[in-house]
Symmetry: C2
């Protein structure tokens, strides 16, 4: 089991905090935006006498609400095309267990959300990476690179759209290329769409569920975590029109009995979040992104492409090793009593040696704090003994 | 992935309900007892603006509360000896992933909680059963039977105490035999103690954590689900004094980010449940058990040993196949507009052919309902075409 690059530095951060150092957490996608009031009110008004299990696929009324949500987003699915899961994490875990046996392979463009590694390893599934590059804004690598890696053990191609950790938003043309390939080679196309609401500059997210001809191939992983700033709820879902996939995934769902009850009630209430909430969120994230990315590129030696979605960016730093740098920032550095926690990007790559100079930053803190973080980063890069000459 | 015997009949039950038949659910361990008021009040009084992730090991204050709970129960552990999980289910899943690689073996006395199969299969772990028998009240099989099955791939012995589905409560002598064996053969001893509070006739549950010399061997799976009638919370934990186990399990914990936030707050509040609650619960379950077991044994051809703990019993029925019988009761039978859903016991066995005539019944409904269920069962057995001659 590989260690999570997002959380593995936590012990160092805890030590820093013990020493009285303020640690700004840009390592994890935990937004600081308030959870919509309708969600918290639903929790406060909960009317239960027994905190019972739900159906293993989730409460029916919540599944109905989800089907309506997707319908409003141009995707027609039924309540039996989806299973409510304990976070997007569990949906991914169910997908791996459902589509692959020990030794099977899944092709993933790298850098990718590091926990894909964890869920694959847990089921003995081999991750086959196709490298995308900072110089290309992490856009989809040539489709031939995917085709070249297909073997008789390949079960699926997995992408994250918009991308974590890249912030890249796939275009219709890119998705069509993937569609054609998975149909031709009879593979699953698994798409993690948990950041579907987070797109910028008037770009629109395109769900893989909108494409015709992919009914048997498309599997979507989703979650309410980021959409409604309710990461702690651990409510996600798995969607597929392929009945066999749902049938097998249900066995995994039944083995763990049910997703959390109260949090499903909260997630259902979240559906009534007013449109104004999302508008404010988009404005805020756009502002943060602009400040952070401009600020990063203004630091000598730092390179950071402009993300089109999600709330992450990947920055290349002028350091020997970004992992050592990130540790050093927590263990040995502080600027005016504060430091910054970032996620070393090496853990987002399956290819050994890739991403060594990169870190992922989540712009989940307010602009004034991000500005402080930029100063800290710049000072840290100046002071770091392993700075590239 | 094997199907859950506890939930696989759900579609038949749903059809029965659609036809207007009342279905009494004795198939699943979902108690009908109210969740303690302190728990529901804590949810109502929740004071959050952001529903954030918790620490991957669970909130520190909840881990402290858990450590105190175990101390009060005679077990000294620290907050770093435990990881809060999404139900006992996830704790079991983490244990399998932590102690075993594909192809490794875990020895389990059968019949056992069917989902042990699911979690094992998911990780490619082979379940090696040692059969216990209804005639012996499902007590621990001879320790030589365990020793005989140990190979170089054996990683652990797993028991459930008190037992689901057997209701058996292991004695100190039995646990000592297991202790000696796992020390001598250097295995883990994994004990599912989620029913630790449910013991009857003044018997006391003995935790494996009380035994000296087992520090590196003992792994306990626990959950608040049954203790506080809050199954829907999905809050459990994994406990071990073996630091390597906790270190590896933490990687699984980090991959799924965190257990549910609100439900952890609820679980912490549950610690303040007054002692009177448990006393009432014990009285109620004792009564139910006595009524159900006596009633079952009074039906011609039915045999059911007296459980000493948990809230299940296993009954042998005079039928050709208990699985067919259970389906038939839902699909084709009703008595005065109602029927009963039970869990066929075959799914609790790894040995093919064992348990064919048995069903598990959970005495989680009130006595008056259990009495109705007994009448329905008796009538069903009379009418069932596959009745043993």
């Amino acid at each position: 089991m590989p260690e999570s690059p997002i959380r593995k530095l936590v012990p160092y951060a805890e030590q820093a905090v013990e020493k009285g150092v303020k640690v700004y957490q840009l390592n994890i996608g935990q937004p600081d935006l308030p959870t919509p009031k309708v969600v918290l009110d639903a929790v406060k008004n909960i009317d239960l006498t027994i905190l019972e299990y739900s159906h293993s696929a989730g409460f029916l009324d919540y599944r109905q609400a989800l089907a309506k949500y997707y319908r409003n987003n141009g995707v027609e699915i039924t309540t039996s095309d989806l299973i409510v899961t304990t976070g997007g994490s569990e949906a991914l875990s169910f997908v791996m267990g459902t589509i692959a046996d020990e030794g099977d392979e899944v092709i993933i463009p790298e850098p990718f959300y590091a926990n894909y590694n964890g869920f694959s390893t847990a089921y003995g599934v081999k991750v086959v990476p196709v490298t995308s590059y900072l110089e290309d804004n992490f856009s989809l690598p040539p489709i031939e690179d995917f085709e070249d890696r297909i073997t008789e053990r390949t079960k699926a191609i997995l992408i994250c759209n918009p991308g974590n950790p890249t912030g890249y938003l796939y275009t219709r043309e890119e998705l069509e290329k993937l569609r054609d390939l998975v149909i031709r080679r009879n593979l699953y196309l698994v798409v993690d769409e948990v950041y579907r609401e987070f797109t910028y500059d008037d770009r629109k997210h395109i769900s893989i569920l909108e494409f015709e001809g992919l009914e048997d191939h498309a599997i979507v992983v989703d979650s309410v975590s980021k959409r409604y700033s309710m990461c702690g709820a651990r409510i996600g879902c798995l969607i597929s029109r392929n009945k066999e996939i749902i049938h097998t995934a249900m066995k995994f769902a039944q083995a763990r009995l049910s997703p959390p009850t109260i949090e499903q009630i909260a997630a259902k209430a979240a559906m009534d979040t007013p449109a104004s909430y999302f508008k404010e969120v988009a404005t805020e994230y756009t502002h943060r992104r602009n400040v952070l990315v401009a600020g990063l590129n203004a630091i000598p030696g730092v390179e950071c492409p402009m993300p089109k979605g999600a709330f992450y960016c990947l920055a290349k730093l002028p350091v020997d090793n970004a992992d050592s740098f990130a540790r050093w920032m927590l263990a040995e550095f502080e600027h005016e009593g504060a430091t910054v926690m970032v996620a070393p990007a090496e853990g987002f790559y399956a290819t050994v040696g890739e991403g060594k100079q990169m870190v992922r930053l989540a712009y989940v803190l307010e602009v004034e704090v991000l500005k402080k973080c930029l100063v800290i980063l710049e000072k840290a890069l100046e002071a770091y003994p392993g700075r590239e000459k």
